[in-house]
């Protein structure tokens, strides 16, 4: 068995990897416990910084974007204005005892992981955590630090409350909105991990009067907020421009269009700054010119197609992000003559606690889709998909719809001429209603006897043609396999509001009515994400249509609003990539 051989071979890998992965439960020797992860991580961190410094020295690298002087033994940035908030830096621990400055807090207990552990995070990873609809990049000033008693009183008015006794609450004022490049004056509540008694390593409490720049995940004025831990900068006024010092253990390095990094690493020996406490320094890892960083962010986010909301709009209703828009308007069309049916009510009354993954819980990470925690519960479905062959719903074994074999769709597509039909479009369709078979047959001319008894008929609003890249405003009726009572395994019927993409072909009669190329092939669920559409392939194995395309290959399942039957996806693709591929094939067919 090959996997057993692989497992055995893994047993013979170098000792360093085994030691590195050792852990408390398995690593018995007390003095050994410090070796494995944290110590190596710290060593790795040092090595990375030393390595970067060495490389930069070798290539005589000059970072752009910051008007910085040559590195000197002075640890305080030379560009910092003397009027800036007092900041002391040290080069080694011996300096701590010699520092006679007064701090707000002395000998604070610290807790938390070694700050040098963990891994660097990329800018793209930071962006993955940001909701495109909730963008912000702001500078705020700490106005007041609340005592725990005052915080507790205030906390009663928050929804949700921050029931974390190890946090500190502040009143702060947003004074600049970088996205819209204008001053602002918005007061917010802010929390920070740590208390005056116990702080996290290298995370001292904010000081009143200190200013920081961050992007808030979900800026709200009626509740507490928290600075983005991966993208927060300490702001300091400078003589030749304001400087942003990035906090945290690893720098997020931004690259300009010319491929050069913006900003400059702070030498490792100069990263620790004592601010509010005598023994918990803040680590500042990289510095940026404020205006260049803001310009970069604006340009980058614009290129991603993000709109810049006003800070006045920063109380968001997250339900608006649901992919199931309740007010889908079907365009005028004669096909809409069918009256409402009871079926529509059934659609809306289904279990709806688990929705289609949308931009709230799906993101792109390193060319993969990333899912939030509550998708966890579906992971076993994914993992067991090969074993799961049948499912029973409401006591009845559902209709099995074996996935099409790879190449079958492709072959059908290539031989489509013989059917006197042709592909005309790849349409984005919003399901607007479900029809009974009889209604569909009467309206659209389908022959209900042609095996359509196991199909559900839908009316859909066509809004876009991916092949021709044109807006559309039509209505079609189409059928897909499976019914509410007997859904295909892994392919539950669609619900009103679902967005799908279908390859349509002109009927052989030459009439205007289109129908899907094949009822369950070349049909995709559309996931709208950051202004782009992605296709999730339902219930079929990867076809040659998608072969070679950049894919997001994770297969997941989720519950439909229609039935207990979970959708099964076998791949995620860019809508444009699929459209380009079909256009290539279509060009070939037309020759």
């Amino acid at each position: 068995m090959s996997e057993m051989r692989l497992l055995c071979a893994l047993g013979e890998v170098d000792d360093e990897f085994i030691e590195e992965a050792a852990f408390d439960n398995a690593c018995i020797e007390p003095e050994k416990r410090v070796i494995p992860f944290k110590a190596l991580a710290a060593a790795a961190a040092i090595a990375v910084f030393v390595g970067i410094a060495a490389v930069l020295a070798v290539v005589n690298y000059k970072a752009i974007g910051v008007d910085t002087p040559a590195v000197t033994s002075e640890s305080t940035p030379a560009v910092t204005d003397i009027t800036a908030p007092p900041v002391t830096s040290v080069t080694d621990n011996n300096d701590i005892s010699d520092d006679k400055r007064e701090f707000e807090f002395y000998d604070v207990e610290t807790q938390g992981d070694n700050p040098a552990s963990g891994i660097p995070i990329s800018y793209d990873e930071v962006m993955d955590s940001v909701y495109a609809e909730k963008l912000n990049l702001v500078r705020f000033e700490i106005l007041e630090r609340y005592s725990s008693e005052d915080a507790a009183k205030l906390n009663e008015s928050f929804d949700p409350p921050f029931e974390d006794m190890y946090s500190t609450l502040y009143r702060a004022r947003i004074e600049y909105d970088y996205l819209n490049d204008k001053a602002a004056e918005k007061e917010i509540y802010l929390i920070q991990d740590g208390t005056p008694e116990v702080m996290l390593e290298e995370k001292p409490l904010y000081g009143v009067g200190e200013k920081y720049v961050t992007m808030f995940y979900d800026l709200r004025y009626d509740r507490w907020n928290k600075a983005n831990p991966d993208f927060t900068f300490k702001f300091e006024e400078g003589i030749s421009g304001n400087i942003l010092y990035q906090l945290d253990r690893w720098p997020v390095i931004l690259y300009g269009e010319d491929g050069l990094s913006i900003g400059e690493d702070i030498p490792y020996s100069e990263q620790l700054r004592y601010t509010t406490t005598s023994n918990v320094p803040m680590r500042l890892v990289r510095k940026y010119d404020e205006s260049l960083l803001a310009e970069f962010i604006r340009g980058d986010w614009r290129s991603r197609g993000y709109a810049f909301p006003s800070l006045d709009d920063s109380v968001f209703d997250t339900s608006a992000l649901s992919p199931k828009s309740p007010d889908v308007e079907a365009p005028d069309n004669d096909a809409l003559l069918v009256a409402d049916t009871d079926t529509d009510e059934d659609i809306n009354s289904g279990p709806d606690t688990l929705m289609i993954p949308d931009c709230k819980n799906i993101g792109i990470y390193d060319e993969y889709f990333e899912f939030e925690d509550y998708i966890d519960s579906f992971m076993p479905i994914y993992e067991d998909r090969m074993e799961a062959a049948e499912t029973v719903i409401n006591g009845e074994t559902v209709l099995q719809a074996p996935p099409m074999q790879p190449d079958e769709t492709y072959e059908r597509l290539m031989s489509d001429e013989s059917e006197n039909a042709r592909i005309s479009s790849l349409c984005k369709i919003t399901v607007t209603r479900l029809l009974s078979g009889e209604e569909a047959a009467a309206l659209a001319g389908y022959d209900a006897s042609l095996g359509d008894r196991n199909c559900t008929f839908y009316e859909g609003a066509v809004t876009y043609d991916y092949l021709n890249k044109t807006e559309m405003r039509e209505t079609i009726i189409f059928s897909m396999r499976g019914t509410l009572e007997r859904p295909c395994y892994g392919q539950p019927p669609y619900a009103v509001g679902d967005k799908i993409a279908l390859v349509l072909k002109t009927r052989e009669s030459g009439s205007d009515i289109t129908r899907p190329f094949r009822s369950y092939a070349l049909a995709y669920d559309v996931i709208e994400f950051r202004g782009s559409d992605y296709f999730a392939v339902r219930g079929q194995s990867t076809d040659r249509i998608e072969e070679g395309l950049k894919s997001y290959p994770h297969s997941i399942s989720y519950s439909s609003t229609q039935t207990d039957n979970s959708v099964r996806y076998f791949g995620f693709y860019s809508a444009d990539a699929i459209a380009d591929r079909l256009n290539e094939l279509w060009s070939f067919l037309k020759r």
């Binding site: 996997e3 051989r5 990897f17 992860f37």
Partner: protein
Amino acid sequence: MNDEQIVSLYFARSESAITETQKKYGKYCYYISFRILADKQDAEECVNDTYLKAWNAIPPHKPSRLSTFLGKLTRNLSLTRFQSRKAKKRAYDDSGVMGVLRELRDSVPSGEDPRDLSDDIALKEALNAFLRSLPQETRVIFMRRYWYMSSVKEIASSLSLTESKVKMTLMRTRERLKEYLEKEGVAV
């Protein structure tokens, strides 16, 4: 007692070498074995076999890292026992090695079956190179799952990660491993 002293006891053929090994690494070895065999008695027997193997191997062998030396012995013995028990149709819990094996199917490249020792060496070298190419956190997660056979929940908890993150990392790493082995032309 440090590792060097324990190894010295082996070289002196002192039976206290076993006692000291058990004190220091008994739990470590038991964890490895139990994760594979999911059976208390089997795991204990395997750990005892490990001590015996170590006694027979040292000297002449002088392990540079006693912990990994013992860990590898335990792991190999446990996998051997697992295979023999599996042949007798004994069921094992999915949280043990069966689940791991099922996952590793994703990483097995297509191609010819391996034939000789050179294939084993090539595979080991490829795995080392692959592991070296991984980010540290990914490597630790991968090793915790496929060397120590820790459960996803356990890994997530000890590394302060979500289970989802661990699963995704493992899935990606398995895919990368397959690509890597295919690219290197290594048979499994």
